[in-house]
């Protein structure tokens, strides 16, 4: 059964194809069942393959399957080949597992939508491309998945394309990703030029053995990382993710929190050999991650749209993952990726449930006191908030701690400090959200006759499952003072990614954990003071420091700067090209050739006299010519 693992991506792909072709004719029930069971089958297969993988003796290679030769051009060859090793297994389980829950959630969340089949077709298609990305055994095929998920992201952000904001957000995501992808392609081309192939194993080996010069390794690693900053929304290409919240909320949970945006982290871990071989590139990765983690966290402090807060939070958390990768703790980065997938999709789905309950309201200033009305959503949201804040014994605590410990152990104290500060900010903005949404006075402005109601089962059950995982997922990677062998996850991944930040003393570790816990609690306490006890404090602070406040609300004016520096010159240049080249050369050529055809038609018009005799004469001449030809 495990050797059928190559079907994992193909099942949702086939389902997407069916839905695209026949979706309009199928009933909603059928569409929902088909889409969910396709992902469920993939999940089952992933689980089977995972069990197979775990049972293998240590050191044995994972599963591989070459489907067909794809490109064969001179010395360069690439085939469509899937691989399933330990790292892939983690991602495949997350993508199909979380994906399944989100599919189920969507059946209820999107129940009223007109384009039900289109939604599920795109969601299935996304699952297909994400699994291709994850299971590709070389960089070229991974890039196919990489672009495919970008396409699906575009389609789903702009799902309600009749809303101009959604259409624009989709376009922004697509264009910003293009910038990163350009660098990504250049990186791939460098590798192809120097290695003649692009399989991950070959790249990691070549980098480690010094086959590639260290300068080239650094160059390629940074180019690929620029691609990752686009896909994973890091500085400087993060600007598309907050706007991407225009898409349906389950989409935000699946694509823009749990899976696609973490593809960059996955890519870095997949090529851990390459990154480990270049200290400058790793440093860049770590510092970009740290800067993003802090930067996005400060922006999350002042957002009022609950989905935007979660979006900045996602950017910030992915920054943490990159810190982990940058300091060499790849397993910790992946660990945080997994736990983050659970608690962030939980938070998004719970937020979706709140939005659903309030008939589309997303502004937290018009919420409050929802605790009583949403008996399921409130506790699960609280679990998610506690997990992301890093409260002990929940998943986020262990994974964030693994990253911070890795940074500290690597001697990167500045990175560690930044991470710690980020923890305070994270806890603060998450509990700002909790207090504003669920506590205090009811500020909802509901129309009469529309009461606040808890969401249907199809939505709450996935929430509860995700909440359970948000609590429990951390126990697969316990810190070192639970014993040398407590870090199951790290040992499991050891065969796939570079491991080994140096170990530190148990007492130091204990101190680090304590500090992390204290900072998380500090953040929560601050939020409590600001938004529960003295709700006037935030506005007083805002008027005390108007400059900082405006800077934060204006999102550091990064969008405006990009607009002035990049977008507007480009648009103006494009307009010039349009006037000079498009109108004159291309349109001109077309108009002239049309005129030429018209003239030729007029010139030949006399042949069409409409007289039978003329036609017969032509026929006769033809017959005589033909007969003459036969006789010769």
């Amino acid at each position: 059964m495990a050797e059928l693992f190559w079907l994992i991506p193909l099942i949702p792909g086939a389902s997407a194809l069916l839905l695209v072709l026949f979706g309009a004719k199928l009933s909603r029930r059928w569409v929902a069942w088909q889409a969910c069971s396709a992902v469920f089958l993939s999940f089952l297969l992933s689980a089977v393959a995972f069990v197979h993988l775990v049972r293998l003796p240590p050191g044995a290679p994972g599963l591989t399957k070459t489907l067909l030769a794809w490109i064969s051009s001179g010395p360069f060859a690439s085939s469509i080949a899937f691989a399933f090793d330990h790292l892939t297994a983690v991602m495949a389980l997350v993508v199909t597992g979380v994906g399944l829950l989100i599919h189920v959630y969507s059946t209820a969340y999107m129940a009223e939508d007109r384009s039900y089949a289109r939604y599920f077709a795109h969601l299935n298609l996304f699952t297909f491309f994400m699994l291709v990305l994850v299971m590709a055994s070389d960089l070229v095929l991974m890039f196919v998945g990489w672009e495919g998920v970008g396409l699906c992201s575009y389609l789903l952000i702009g799902f309600w394309f009749e809303r101009p904001a959604a259409a624009k957000a989709g376009m922004k995501a697509f264009v910003v990703n293009r910038v990163g992808d350009a660098a990504f392609i250049i990186g791939i081309l460098f590798l192809l030029d120097n290695l003649g192939g692009s399989s991950f194993a070959a790249i990691n080996e070549a980098a480690a053995s010094g086959l590639l010069s260290s300068g080239l390794v650094t160059l390629v690693a940074i180019l690929l990382f620029i691609g990752a900053t686009g896909k994973s929304a890091q500085i400087p290409l993060y600007v598309w993710l907050p706007d991407a919240m225009e898409g349906p909320t389950p989409v935000s949970a699946l694509i823009h929190a749990a899976t696609m945006v973490t593809a960059g982290v996955y890519m870095v871990c997949r090529l851990s050999g390459l990154y480990a071989a270049s200290i400058p590139a790793s440093t860049v990765v770590a510092w970009i991650g740290a800067a993003t983690a802090l930067f996005a966290a400060t922006l999350a402090l002042v957002q009022n749209d609950i989905k935007k807060v979660l979006a900045y939070s996602t950017i910030s958390q992915i920054g943490y993952m990159f810190i982990g990768c940058g300091v060499g703790a790849y397993a910790a980065g992946m660990f945080h990726l997994v736990t983050h997938a659970f608690f962030k999709s939980l938070l998004f789905l719970a937020a979706g449930s709140v939005i659903h309950a309030l008939a589309g309201e997303q502004d937290m200033r018009r919420m409050g006191g929802l605790r009583k009305h949403l008996p399921v959503t409130f506790p699960v949201f609280l679990v998610g908030a506690l997990a992301i804040s890093g409260i002990p014994f929940l998943s986020g605590f262990f994974s964030k701690d693994a990253i911070l410990t890795g940074a500290f152990a690597g001697g990167q104290y500045a990175l560690w400090g930044a991470g710690l500060l980020g923890t305070v900010l994270t806890a603060f903005y998450m509990f700002r959200l909790v207090y504003m949404m669920f506590y205090g006075k009811e500020r909802t402005a509901m129309e009469p006759g529309h009461s606040i109601h808890e969401s249907p089962r199809a939505m709450t059950i996935p929430l509860v499952i995700l909440a359970a995982f948000s609590v429990l997922a951390g126990y697969i990677g316990l810190p070192v003072f639970f014993g040398e062998k407590a870090d199951l996850f790290g040992r499991y991944l050891a065969s796939s990614v570079k491991s080994g930040s140096p170990h530190i003393a148990v007492s130091t570790e204990g101190l680090l954990v304590l500090l992390a816990t204290v900072s998380a609690l500090l953040g929560i306490a601050l939020a409590f003071v600001f938004y529960r006890r003295t709700p006037a404090l935030p506005s007083r602070l805002a008027s005390r420091f108007p400059g900082i406040y405006r800077l934060l609300v204006g999102k550091y004016y990064i969008d405006e700067v990009y607009d002035a520096v990049v977008v507007r010159p480009l648009v103006r240049g494009a307009e010039k090209v349009y006037e000079r080249f498009d109108l004159k050369v291309i349109d001109g050529a077309l108009n002239k050739s049309a005129a030429a055809a018209g003239l030729a038609g007029k010139g030949l018009n006399f042949l069409q006299s409409g007289l039978v005799r003329d036609y017969a004469l032509a026929f006769l001449i033809g017959a005589i010519t033909f007969l003459g030809f036969l006789l010769l």
């Binding site: 004469l617 001449i621 017959a623 005589i624 007969l627 006789l631």
Partner: protein, 165 residues
């Protein structure tokens, strides 16, 4: 003696077609054609094809040309005859016709006609012809009957409708 008959028949045949070209009366044209086709029937007889000759006279000269005459009488186009064609076009047509004639004769030379007379015709008698029709050419024969039926129905469908219906 046979040559005399051949020459008379040929003259009648070609002469009546030529007269048709110069005549400006449709009814006369049709009658000229009857004459031409009848003499052709005689020529068929000279070629040891008595059955074909009989059919030629009965069907062509008889049935088909009578049909033409009916049509001409229906239209009743007396006095409305078209003008002659232009000289240039006439010259062009005659030129092309000459070329065509040369080509046809050349083609005839290339065929077995160049070596005269392969002996008496083997398929002269009608019995053999009938045998051929109902054995080797049975399918073609049956299909022809279908064709005639189709033509009958088609003619009714086309011309049978009254105006405005």
């Amino acid at each position: 003696m046979v040559w005399v008959v051949f020459l008379i028949l040929s003259f009648l045949c070609i002469g009546s077609v030529a007269a048709m070209i110069f005549s400006r009366n449709q009814a006369h044209n049709a009658l000229f054609l009857v004459l031409s086709f009848s003499s052709l029937g005689g020529l068929f007889g000279l070629l040891d094809a008595p059955f074909a000759a009989a059919v030629q006279v009965l069907v062509y000269a008889g049935a088909i040309m009578v049909l033409f005459l009916f049509a001409i009488m229906m239209f009743n186009l007396r006095g409305e005859l078209p003008a002659r064609v232009k000289k240039a076009r006439l010259a062009l047509t005659v030129g092309l016709g000459t070329v065509l004639l040369a080509e046809l004769l050349l083609a005839g030379r290339k065929l077995v006609l160049g070596s005269p007379g392969a002996g008496p015709a083997a398929g002269g008698d009608t019995a053999r012809l009938g045998h051929f029709l109902f054995s080797d050419y049975l399918y073609a024969f049956e299909i022809t009957s279908l064709l005639i039926l189709a033509a009958l129905v088609g003619a009714l469908a086309l011309a049978g409708k009254r105006e405005g219906s």
